[in-house]
């Protein structure tokens, strides 16, 4: 694993500067049914293809960003700070 992530603040940087934060998911409403909470807490899509992920630029700007990564090629299509 030695791909680059185009940090929107710092530019192209080695993946080793980042901490992986998992898939981007939508947190259910507090009163949502248990099944929805279980799905959110324990199930991962583990997409074979492009998925949106959280990354934290630990050795750089120390900010959380989201990136679209192709999990089969490790090509990062875009990275941005979520609004």
């Amino acid at each position: 694993m030695s791909f680059l992530i185009p940090c929107p603040h710092c530019g192209n940087r080695s993946v080793y500067e980042f901490r992986f934060g998992g898939e981007v998911k939508t947190r259910p409403q507090p009163e949502a049914p248990t099944e929805e909470w279980m799905e959110y807490t324990y199930t991962k899509a583990n997409e074979s293809g492009v998925q949106k992920e959280w990354w934290f630029h630990r050795s750089g700007c120390r900010q959380w960003l989201q990136a679209s990564r192709n999990t089969t090629t490790n090509e990062v299509l875009e990275a941005f700070f979520p609004e």
Binding site: M1, S2, F3, L4, S14, R19, G21, P28, P30, A32, T34, W37, Y40, T41, Y42, W54, F56, R58, Q63, W64, N74, P82, E83
Partner: protein, 885 residues
């Protein structure tokens, strides 16, 4: 060429060897008369120089303690200590060579065929371990540490400084690209440096290249891997006098591979004898090192080849007695060195057999990058095709100028137990035939069964010949048989180079040297150094010291350095809202000047960290985290902040603030002498905080009680760390104050049954099972983990974290197993001898049905079982009266 004027010496097996500037270890030894350089892996056959290019396993030695160093490409240095390996007692007389008489006992797949029962392996293992393997790894800490790492970037990386690489680098640089040229030789020029008839080293081109800005040349560096994202692994030998190897992480937008080709030997009986040498090795000895390689040479070459090397040999004074075609050679003759070659027309005496072998593209990097290798009948080689974007190849690695030396697959294969295909692990043509006849007829299964291509040369010498045998035996073509996969690192890299210089960052608290003077015995906690306990003249051992420190806190006053706590300053209009969302406890209703404890859970209700949070003002909080979790907690808080638009600013103050905990019945008296802040319980109750000056140092005082006595945690600027530490000890002198360490603190908190998150809890622990239900405020509308915690609050617990007291004197270790009715029922997380109880006390996870108050459990202690009782309350001051005094 080795400069004959400058000479120096090094040691080989205790003997002094003379070397000239430009020599490698192998060239110096060859000049000094050495012909056997190693013994083979399996049969301990004598082996001599074959490739002189670091591509074969025939000269691996131990250099300055590092095993398996290829002597032919390792520059000789004055004073180095070189030793042989894989032979006993010496290279010339190896007792283990007797093994080859029993080769009939060692067929291909010997392990699979012999070790058919578990006992047979156990019986054989001790003996096999003694003789198997190559080289001896240095003792822990015994190897060299002079390795370094470097990181570089290039627009274009050109790998190989031969004519094609030089030309490509020049053209790219002239077009304005920033070029990094990596070459494994001490000088540029590639094969033109020793294949004189192929042309002259383009000195003008090299000078032109050197003059261009934007060109960087890395010499004596080989590229061992081409990874994802055009990341190149480059290993440079002796980058400067202070380092033996430098690992360069080179990232390039484009890679041009110009690694050229190498020569491989022919297969015939005794083709491994010392004195059998590739033509390029002979040319290297002659032209790079000024060595006359032998006296009487026989050249083996297909038509039109071999003339160049014949000229070189005659020029250096070697008599060329015959030239044979590959199919005319029957066997080499000799025991420790070649003395003659047996050909179809009779025996020819010689001391040098020069093989003009097939040239093979050095295409490993291209294969690693995702390129395929396709058989080319005309060139007699597997050539790279289908290269990925941003990777290209130039020169001989593409098959340019290459000619087929022998037909492939071969028409006749000399099947013999001594006709070696793989020199690394002594795999012969006969072994391969046997493997194929046993059903391993696919090149990948044949490789795994016979270990062909799996030795230190990584298939360089044997792959083509092995494929040839496989194709011949199975009746398939070379292309159908295919190649095995190249994987990095190729060639091999020393573990020391990968490990690098081994820098371990260390963090010291502002009071570090004051602790040193007080006799601190250190404990590593992550990067931090913390006093485990203080060794003083009055206590003989750790237990006595800890006991003294414990008594000081319980009876008088104690002072501990807690500067390593994570400290986060949280400011902003929405700070309370964020803390309410992330922590399980409630903070928006906390009054300024008050402190509250909380844990931090994930969405599954698992406890991730704990700490205190002080509210300093309406919009200002101060968080402490456990020592190891600071980064995590800060990132966690910031993560939940993303996209909310809330007004919250989080600042890490850990390094900027020192912190101490002053605790004990006399703590108030000691502290009051240094501050104007009213410390009476009425003015400063338990779980309150105040900003005040202590000995004129601005400080935050928090009245909290981890150790179970009246006490204050004092946070203040790190610059005053040592000053205030000493000031507090001085003020407490008459009270009998003592500094105390981690060990006493752990005992003190254990008597209070205070849980340490991460020590007493793990990745499965929730607040309910940990006996901390009160910390989860389920009446809050929402917080991280609320859904899971509300479910857990209603579920029956699986296990419980309980306190226990031993029935007798036994002291269980942390982690000891707990038994109930002889069955495993849990484990101890912390246990210490409690002076208060006169017995050991502790915390343990126990399965729910056995965790009732008053139940008896058994704990494994020193191989037997000791009895203990589960208790409900803290072992010390259960009502917490002492905290509120």
């Amino acid at each position: 060429m080795a400069d004959s004027t400058e000479k120096f010496t090094f040691q080989f097996d205790g003997q002094v060897v003379e070397a000239r500037a430009g020599d490698t270890v192998a060239s110096a030894l060859y000049r000094a008369g050495r012909r056997i350089f190693t013994r083979s892996f399996k049969y301990h056959r004598p082996r001599g120089l074959l490739c002189m290019a670091g591509k074969c396993p025939n000269c691996m030695m131990n250099v300055d303690g590092t095993p398996n160093v290829r002597a032919c490409i390792t520059p000789a240095r004055a004073g180095m200590r070189v030793e042989h390996q894989n032979a006993y007692p010496s290279l010339d007389h190896d007792l283990l060579a007797a093994v080859q008489r029993f080769d009939w006992l060692m067929p291909v797949g010997w392990y699979y065929k012999t070790m058919t029962h578990e006992w047979s392996w156990h019986a054989a293992e001790p003996y096999i371990r003694k003789v198997a393997g190559l080289g001896v790894a240095p003792e822990a800490g015994g190897g060299s540490t002079d390795y370094e790492h470097a990181w570089m970037h290039a627009e274009v990386a050109v790998i190989g400084g031969g004519p094609a690489g030089l030309q490509a680098a020049l053209e790219l640089a002239q077009s304005g690209a920033q070029v990094t040229l990596v070459d494994d030789q001490p000088e540029l020029g590639g094969h033109l440096r020793y294949r004189k008839q192929a042309g002259k080293v383009p000195a003008e081109l090299i000078a032109q290249l050197r003059a261009l800005s934007g060109v960087e040349i890395i010499s004596r560096a080989y590229c061992f891997g081409l990874y994802e994202g055009n990341q190149l692994g480059v290993l440079q030998a002796t980058p400067h006098a202070g380092a033996i190897e430098r690992l360069i992480h080179l990232r390039a937008k484009r890679v041009v591979v110009a690694t050229g080709a190498y020569e491989v030997p022919f297969t015939f009986e005794n083709n491994d004898l010392p004195g059998v040498m590739l033509s390029t090795a002979v040319q290297r000895l002659i032209h790079l090192h000024g060595i006359k390689p032998g006296n009487r040479a026989v050249i083996v070459a297909s038509v039109a080849q071999g003339d160049d090397v014949a000229v070189d040999l005659r020029d250096s004074g070697v008599e060329v007695v015959a030239k044979l075609a590959p199919h005319e050679v029957i066997s080499g003759v000799g025991s420790s060195h070649i003395t003659a070659v047996r050909a179809k027309d009779g025996e020819i005496a010689c001391d040098l057999l020069v093989l003009c072998g097939q040239r093979v593209p050095d295409a490993g990097l291209l294969n690693q990058a995702g390129g395929k290798l396709a058989w080319n009948e005309e060139r007699g080689a597997f050539l790279p095709v289908d290269l990925p974007a941003n990777v290209s190849a130039v020169g001989e690695v593409t098959g340019a100028w290459m000619a087929r030396a022998t037909p492939h697959p071969p028409e006749n294969i000399p099947y013999h137990k001594r006709a070696f295909v793989c020199l690394c692990s002594d795999v012969s043509t006969a072994d391969l035939r046997d493997g194929i006849s046993e059903g391993f007829d696919h090149i990948e299964t044949l490789k795994r069964y016979t270990t062909l291509t799996m030795g230190p040369c990584q298939g360089r010498m044997c792959q083509l010949a092995g494929i040839g045998v496989c194709a011949h035996e199975t009746g398939r073509s070379m292309g159908e048989t295919g190649v095995t996969t190249s994987r990095p690192p190729n060639p091999s890299v020393s573990l020391g180079a990968l490990a690098g210089p081994r820098h371990h960052p260390t963090r010291r608290t502002p009071m570090h040297y004051a602790h040193d003077e007080s006799g601190a015995v250190w404990l590593d906690m992550g990067e931090w150094k913390r006093p485990r306990y203080y060794k003083t003249a009055s206590c003989p051992d750790e237990r006595a010291c800890v006991d003294e420190e414990y008594r000081a806190v319980r009876e008088r006053a104690g002072l501990i350095d807690v500067s390593t706590l994570g400290k986060l300053d949280v400011k902003g209009r929405d700070a309370g809202k964020l803390l309410d969302k992330v922590y399980t406890n409630r903070f928006s209703d906390l009054k300024p000047g008050r402190v509250r404890y909380s844990v931090l859970c994930d969405e599954a209700g698992i406890m991730l960290d704990d700490g205190t949070i002080s509210r300093l003002a309406e919009d200002h909080y101060f968080i402490t985290t456990t020592t190891g979790n600071l980064d995590f907690v800060q990132q966690w808080l910031e993560w939940w902040l993303v996209g909310t638009g809330w007004d919250v600013h989080i600042t890490n103050l850990t390094g900027g603030r020192a912190a101490v905990n002053l605790a004990g019945p006399q703590a108030r008296d000691v502290l009051q002498t240094l501050t104007a802040c009213d410390l009476t319980t009425k003015a400063f109750p338990y779980m309150a905080c105040r900003e005040a000056e202590v000995a004129e140092v601005p400080a935050l005082l928090m009245r909290i009680g981890f150790v179970g006595e009246t006490g204050w945690e004092i946070h203040f600027p790190a610059e005053y760390g040592e000053y205030l530490w000493n000031k507090l000890l001085e003020a407490g002198k008459t009270s009998g104050i003592r500094p105390f360490g981690i060990e006493a603190q752990r005992l003190l908190r254990l008597e209070k049954r205070h849980v340490i998150v991460g020590v007493d809890t793990d990745a499965l622990s929730n607040p309910y099972e940990s006996g901390m239900a009160w910390v989860a405020k389920l009446d809050k509308a929402d917080f991280i983990g609320r859904n899971a915690l509300s479910r857990l609050s209603e579920a029956a617990p699986q296990q419980s974290l309980v306190g226990f007291v031993m029935n007798d004197d036994a002291l269980p270790q942390d982690g000891a197993a707990i038994l109930v009715d002889g069955a495993l029922a849990g484990r101890v997380t912390s246990a210490r001898y409690s002076p208060k109880n006169g017995k050991a006390v502790g915390l343990a996870w126990v399965v729910a049905k056995s965790a009732a108050i008053g139940m008896e459990i058994q704990i494994r202690v020193n191989g037997s079982t000791a009895r203990a009782r589960i208790v409900e309350e803290a072992f010390y001051d259960p009502a917490g009266e002492r905290l509120r005094m």
